[in-house]
């Protein structure tokens, strides 16, 4: 009699009722290979469970005991991050997660302060045709940056292009945004989002450390300043656009 492996597994796990158990045991008596399969299931079970057994003997960290003692009303006020936020991200990338609770206006404030401090000193606003200008108090892309944001596809861009496009994504507000890097004496990176007829530069920061890797789509994020990464993480509505979606968005005028 053939016994499906799922049933043998359930038998090994003690899941069968008396009738089914008797059937399986009769089959095992008749076929020793079934007994070996049952044994395999049991061995795997003990292998897996023994691997985690020692966790039970570890001392429980004080912070968890405190969490249990903390009455619901006694919310901790020293927490910047909302308790509903991802715990792993909190430990892994505190900056990005804290940033996730910021909204565009806060980013704009940062962009503005960074822009004054960094951009003005670095020629982006000056020679020969500035890549970023202001329009009714907002930072907007111009010239080479505007051209790249509008026409350049990350999947097809030349490595030597002065502006490199990173990821494109739809923001929570519905608008399409793209990250970029402008290579000059220094590399400036930022996020620009499409508004009516121009690209509004929402975040701008100087790249950290080494030059960003030009033209490498996979690396587009890793060379980005933390502020840019954090802004993307905070504002992205769903997933970054893949190459096909990016092309479609461009054809559609980034609407």
């Amino acid at each position: 009699m053939s016994i499906p492996d799922e049933k043998l597994m359930a038998y090994a796990d003690g899941e069968l009722d008396a009738v089914e158990r008797a059937q399986v045991e009769a089959a095992i008596d008749a076929d020793p290979s079934l007994a070996r399969r049952v044994e395999k299931h049991r061995a795997l079970r003990s292998k897996v469970s023994s691997a985690y057994a020692s966790v039970l003997d570890e001392p429980v960290p004080e912070r968890l005991l405190n969490a249990v003692r903390g009455a619901p009303a006694a919310a901790r006020d020293d927490r910047v991050v909302d308790a509903g936020r991802a715990p792993v991200a909190r430990s892994r990338d505190r900056m990005a997660t804290r940033a996730a609770s910021w909204s565009w206006p806060q980013w704009l404030a940062i962009a503005a302060s960074v822009a004054v401090g960094v951009v003005v000193g670095r020629g982006v606003l000056t020679s020969p045709r500035p890549s970023i200008g202001t329009e009714s108090g907002k930072l907007v892309a111009q010239a080479a940056l505007d051209d790249a944001l509008t026409n350049q596809l990350a999947s097809e861009q030349s490595r030597s292009a002065p502006v490199q496009i990173g990821v494109s994504f739809r923001a929570k507000g519905g608008e399409l945004c793209r990250t970029f890097s402008i290579r000059q004496a220094d590399t400036l990176s930022g996020v620009a989002c499409r508004e009516a007829s121009s690209w509004s530069v929402r975040v701008l920061a100087r790249a950290e450390g080494a030059q960003t890797q030009p033209g490498n789509y996979q690396q587009a994020g890793s060379g980005m300043p933390a502020a840019v990464r954090a802004a993307v993480e905070a504002q992205i509505a769903d997933e970054p656009l893949d190459a096909a979606a990016e092309m479609a968005a461009q054809k559609n005028g980034w609407k």
Binding site: E6, V48, V55, L56, L64, A67, P72, P87, V88
Partner: protein
């Protein structure tokens, strides 16, 4: 109510080691696992009214940990797609003892499983839950638990089968 809260808190302290173990099967980093437990405890205490005192507190907590973890992995996956994260192998530093090597090999094998299968393994093989109990925590039919467990076992068997220990 104050009395009931105290009772729950006592029970929570008792099951904390198991909550930590469950979280550890989901995330290999022990600090992350404790973050997850802490978050789950905070969430649980803030919505105690949703817990039926005649039901199992451990199952309820596993469900809260599971949901918190799903939220987190979604965010994490997206982050990983956006940005390359190079921190694999952070736990592989000092494989001191045979037990440690065994644990690392099992952790590595579990990490290969799809999330939904890993949770079944955590509840049934590690926690010792019956299929039916696991199905209730995961909010899926019992047949789904069975088939996920069978597939997970096949993978684990292929990765861990044969000689004891040894990294796959």
């Amino acid at each position: 109510m104050g009395h009931a809260l105290e009772a729950v808190q006592r029970q929570l302290v008792e099951i904390l080691p198991r909550l930590r173990r469950f979280a550890r099967t989901l995330t290999r980093n022990s600090h992350d696992a404790d973050d997850l437990v802490q978050l789950a405890v905070e969430r649980a205490l803030s919505r105690l009214d949703q817990w039926r005192p005649d039901s199992r507190l451990d199952s309820w907590m596993f469900g809260i940990i599971r949901n918190a973890w799903i939220d987190e992995t979604r965010a994490q996956k997206r982050r990983n797609r956006l940005f390359t994260v190079a921190e694999a192998g952070e736990n592989v530093a000092d494989a001191a003892s045979e037990a440690h090597i065994h644990r690392l090999s099992v952790e590595a094998a579990l990490a290969q499983l799809p999330e939904e299968q890993r949770m079944v393994v955590a509840l049934v093989l590690v926690e010792g839950y019956a299929y039916k109990e696991a199905a209730a925590v995961l909010e899926v039919p019992i047949g789904t638990v069975t088939s996920r467990l069978a597939r997970a076992r096949e993978t684990l068997e292929a990765l861990l089968g044969g000689a004891e220990g040894g990294l796959p």
